[in-house]
Amino acid sequence: MRSGRRRHSRENAATSDWAGRYREYDLVKEFTIALVVVSLLTGVLALVFSSPDIKQVTISTWSHADPNDFTATAATELDGTSGTATYGAPYTHTPGAAQAIGSVSLQHIAGVTHPIDTVTDFVVGPLDQVPGDPALTTALTTWKAAPAAQQQTWATAYDNALQNAPSNDPAKVATGSYGPVPVMLGSLLTLARTGGLDGDLLLHGGFFQTDYTQPLLFIADGAYLANQADAEHLGGEQWGMMNETGSYPGQAWLWLYTFWYQVKPFSTSGNGDALVWVVMAILSLGLVLVPFIPGLRSIPRVIPVHRLIWRTYYRGFPAAQPDIHPARPER
């Protein structure tokens, strides 16, 4: 056990209370002036530069602005090839989809906490809510009566045909055996244009909603949102994570996190996100623990920026003299 006296002695050696001169310093005055200056500066910046507010994309606006992209995306939700359908945890149980660090997949370990079945949640479920459409009712009956393999065959065939159609236009899809899929996706487009799908995709079906997981995932599966983002320099290759819409500073403090996504192996690895997070976690821990890291903690001594910070003080104590200070004044 360390004795109190010994510890106290070591603490004093480390702490070395300042025994030199003091000067008047009005903390309250400094705080007050700083508060006034910062408040005024904030007000001026807000008046001059305002803040960006670009309207959100809804499924309704998307389906009006780019109906072909909407239908093509819905087709991938139905045949299970969309980004969400193949995502893995926390949305689906897709084998091998989770990112890993070496042999450890924290994504997989955390599990599927927001389960999503894109066929039911994004397509069939919302269509079930549409009243008074005999053609759709027949199509849904046919779909539900068919074996899963037949459903997959229809959906895959239509998705492929849609991708090969000029401009992914459903009206120009080659003739084929697609079962009820064209009718279903046509009705989904109609539903989306009315705005009904925006509400249907909100979780739990309750009146009060704050969870936009499903509609956001559906929108993000399409190309429309990403195209709009690229136009606003928000894309991943545009250092978009630290940008915001318009010509605003954005989250400049995310520059290091964004940087890793621009360089290999992070930019090309299938586990890029996990690798970037590990690197940033290590660096963040390093920042917190700088005082304990030999070499890193010595940098301020080796590179004497402190001579600039304390230049007034050092001028008062020429190098030839030891740093001995006059007696401590009254406080």
């Binding site: 904030t42 807000a46 803040s51 507010d53 309207k55 370990i109 983002a229 970037v276 301020p300 001594r301």
Partner: protein, 221 residues
């Protein structure tokens, strides 16, 4: 009824401990060591005052609700105040952080001061990030759909769902500011307790001795 003797009950012990650790003239001193004479020292108080402006402007947004600023010019102005105060807050804090790094401000049993400051910085990044998520506009839509991949890749997204507006709003306006506020208080109290770190001595042998002594002496004490 027996009257407890002075200093024998919990309240008295807490008061004595607080006064012993933070005597009034140390908690709110009107003098500073002669070396506290540089513009870099201003950035600590600038960070705190910017944080207060962030809290007030964010509080005004909270009073009217998260959708207010989309349809009101006054609300838009308050949102602009919030945005620019955050930009100033982060800028001041980064300058403060770099200044303290070059001073090696963890010397002299000031490691806890450094650690709490670094935690404030990292938590502020998370708070600002959640702020971008709850703007409820195109920016927050795209940022959330992109950010989910990083968080999901390490399992955080399973419980911290950036696509859940309600969850992010509460993190942004309650939990994370509370963490920043608490660590800021501890940080400032540590500065008052340990004082402002003095300049490096001129002895060339003075290399890592302070840092080693910090560790040996129990830096968190």
């Amino acid at each position: 009824m027996t009257t407890p003797s002075v200093g024998s009950n919990w309240t008295a012990k807490l008061r004595n401990r607080a006064l012993g650790t933070f005597p009034p003239d140390q908690l709110l001193p009107d003098k500073q060591p002669i070396y506290v004479a540089s513009w870099i020292y201003v950035f600590g108080v600038l960070t705190i005052t910017a944080f207060l402006v962030v809290l007030v402007s964010g509080g005004l947004l909270a009073v009217e609700g998260p959708q207010w600023w989309h349809g009101s010019s006054a609300g838009h102005f308050v949102n602009s105040l919030h945005l620019w105060s955050v930009e100033l807050f982060m800028a001041f804090m980064v300058i403060h952080l770099w200044g303290k790094f070059w001073m090696a401000a963890w010397r002299g049993r000031r490691v806890l001061t450094w650690i709490t400051g670094a935690i404030c910085f990292l938590t502020s990044i998370g708070t600002a990030f959640t702020g971008y998520l709850v703007q409820s506009n195109f920016d927050s839509q795209f940022i959330s759909t992109q950010a989910k991949d990083g968080l999901n890749s390490v399992g955080i997204g399973a419980y911290f769902n950036v696509l859940n507006f309600g969850q992010m709003l509460l993190w942004h306006i309650v939990l994370l500011p509370l963490v920043i506020g608490l660590f800021t208080v501890v940080h400032v109290l540590q500065v008052r307790r340990r004082g402002v770190v003095p300049p490096f001595e001129r002895d060339p042998r003075d290399t890592d001795t302070d840092a080693d002594a910090d560790v040996d002496a129990g830096v968190l004490g």
